[in-house]
Symmetry: C2
Subunit: 394 residues, 2 copies
């Protein structure tokens, strides 16, 4: 497992007791110098206070020094008081860590609608600042967990003309989902210098190919946030063709984190790797993939290890995408289940008994001869998912 | 409970043994004379053989004598052989019951992709025809059940200038859903004469206000079918302003059946009565209502008796509908949970403890001051739903 922290960054975690006394619920990453900042935020119309603050910093300054994440309190749907509390938490942290408040990118996850307990922040922030440099990537990833069952981090070491560049990321959130506590948060650190506009553009493209193609239950949180900081501490400035190399690495790291999010989807036992091809357009392929990936009937069938092609074609047929049913082909784990408008003659249950025991299930769907394609990672729907979400607040 | 069969109709049920030996799995309704026929069918691109046959009869002839429904075999995704089998089943029934095959509207539900066992049809059809006139509305409704936990039927007696008109309907399907066996099927019988174009038009409008506003899991089957027969046996011809009276009754009967479908949604313990108002348009209101009604997080919260307004506003915020978050108001069971972008000061958990124990949960959402409105019935998402659908084929 990749564990190196990019140069010029220090990490810290601390316990504020926002929800569960004693557990680490605060995480801070600080760059020794100003870093190019990228941010990708929830598209939900209800945006949490830290999303509004972070969006403003990224847009206005395009640079930052730190990322501050708390769990236990989402600071969403908290009005002007929530906004003031978010800024005050950043100011307290800035004071303790020798930063400017407007250089701190905030992110929160936890119960929606409750105001921050500012006294807990006041008590915890000095310890957090004092801990800078003591936390590992895994410590940071663990501190931002909520319903996650394991810490998620990934990274790569790149070589640019003999000089080493590190890229490391953490993520949390048992899916791209929106229960009170399962916001998706992620942070990427890089010790190369990348111009803000290049850094931001590669983030948008990489996110579109990775996090945006992963789904647990189709919900999108009020707090979803991804931050990227590139500080140049490695002495390498990435420009020109090298940007493509860095972007490819960034895409791999985000894909790794996105896969881990789906694998750790609430109650999930399976990861469907849905690949739709032959659609009239990429957008149509995406709609078809999402309709299948969100269908409760397909998701429960995968949980039940059931080669239920009927539910898959049924979802395709109601997706709204135009295709000729006679041209559709569906293969699960490499076994062709459906073509020419009918199931194939293969003995699915026998052929798929073993493959359906595995965690990763490739589901290949061709809708015809069109140029459109899309891929999506989706979890299954299980008893445990219902338990987690029905019993959550009690 | 309304149990009268409209005049001039005879009902029969029989056991063919398509899936479970001994249980009633065939149902036939015959009108003594030709009746105006209406049909509303699945929008799924994969249409089962009986859907194709029934659509053709309704479109071409606009009249029919009978409705023939089987459970256990869906005859969907069965190609040209399936179409031939569907027609042959109708021909066998026509022969036994003294009808013409093209006067029989077929509907099937059961496992997708398997071909009919024609020998079972041949053996069962004579008994089915011999039983005509012996089955009650409840017998019919029971014979077409699959994962349903209770038979669903409803009706009304109307008076037109001192003459009585009966309207009776049955329905099956644990929701508007598409597992292998939970197709939505419904049949309405009326002993007034109504011109085919009037009868069909009132069906389309009534279905749009009832069945189309009920959801269990958002899936749409390959076999969904609603048939209506109006035979004139009461001696009443409904025209002019009386059409509105009949349409209102038809809408009430379909609403009754639609409510029963959601109440009996697979594993369901709750019926959410979602009413969205103040949206930019009716279509926007519908999108918002469906996003909330399909959200696994909202559905599991209702199952968990949790006044989780955060998940409701989160679903609204990601619905794609444009509104001002500050203007949104959400009330559950009459208790206002959210307004001005924040939760209200009420003690929800105390106020809603009792109401959330009930089966029916009114959820009123105002998005602003626009003219758009929509209502939707939606079930919750439970452990039992996952059990039914994960274990279904085994």
């Amino acid at each position: 497992m990749f564990t190196a922290i990019p140069k010029g960054f220090r990490l810290a975690v601390a316990s504020a007791g926002f929800k569960t006394p004693g557990r680490k619920d605060l995480a801070l990453a600080v760059s020794d110098s100003s870093a190019s900042a990228a941010g990708v935020f929830t598209t939900n119309l209800f945006k949490a206070a830290p999303v509004l603050v972070g969006q403003d910093i990224v847009k206005r300054k395009q640079s930052a020094r730190a990322v501050l994440i708390n769990t236990g309190q989402a600071n969403a749907c908290t009005g002007s008081q929530g906004l003031a509390n978010c800024k005050r938490a950043a100011a307290l942290t800035a004071l303790a860590a020798g930063l400017e408040a407007h250089d701190i990118l905030p992110a929160s996850t936890g119960v929606i609608g409750a105001q921050f307990s500012m006294s807990l922040w006041e008590k915890a922030v000095p310890a957090l600042a004092a801990n800078l440099g003591t936390a590992t990537l895994e410590d940071f990833a663990s501190a931002i967990m909520t319903t996650d069952s394991f810490p998620k981090y990934a990274g790569e070491r790149l070589d640019f003309n003999g000089k080493s560049v590190l890229l490391a990321g953490v993520a949390k959130g048992a899916g791209m989902i929106c229960p009170n506590m399962a916001t998706m948060l992620s942070m990427l650190l890089c010790d190369a210098f990348v111009a803000p506009e290049d850094w931001q553009a590669m983030f948008r493209r990489a996110v579109d190919k990775t996090f945006n193609r992963a789904t647990v239950d189709g919900d999108t949180s009020t707090n979803d946030t991804l931050y990227g900081l590139a500080n140049g501490a490695s002495g390498v400035t990435v420009t020109g063709r090298d940007l493509e190399v860095l972007e490819a690495a960034l895409t791999r790291v985000l894909a790794d984190l996105a896969y881990k999010l789906v694998r750790d989807g609430e109650g999930a036992t399976k990861v469907m790797h849905i690949a739709v091809t032959g659609a009239p357009s990429d957008k149509d392929a995406e709609i078809a993939a999402r309709t299948v990936g969100h269908s409760p009937l397909v998701k429960t069938a995968m949980y039940g290890k059931d080669a239920n092609w009927g539910r898959i074609v049924c979802a395709l047929g109601r997706s709204g995408v135009h295709f000729n049913p006679e041209e559709v082909r569906v293969a699960l784990c490499g076994v062709e289940l459906f073509k020419n408008g009918q199931p194939t003659d293969l003995d699915f249950d026998a052929l798929l008994k073993e493959p359906l025991e595995q965690r990763d299930l490739p589901l290949d769907i061709s809708l015809g001869t069109g140029p459109g394609a899309y891929s999506l990672l989706a979890s299954d729907l299980t008893h445990e998912y219902v338990s987690i979400n029905a019993d959550y607040r009690s």
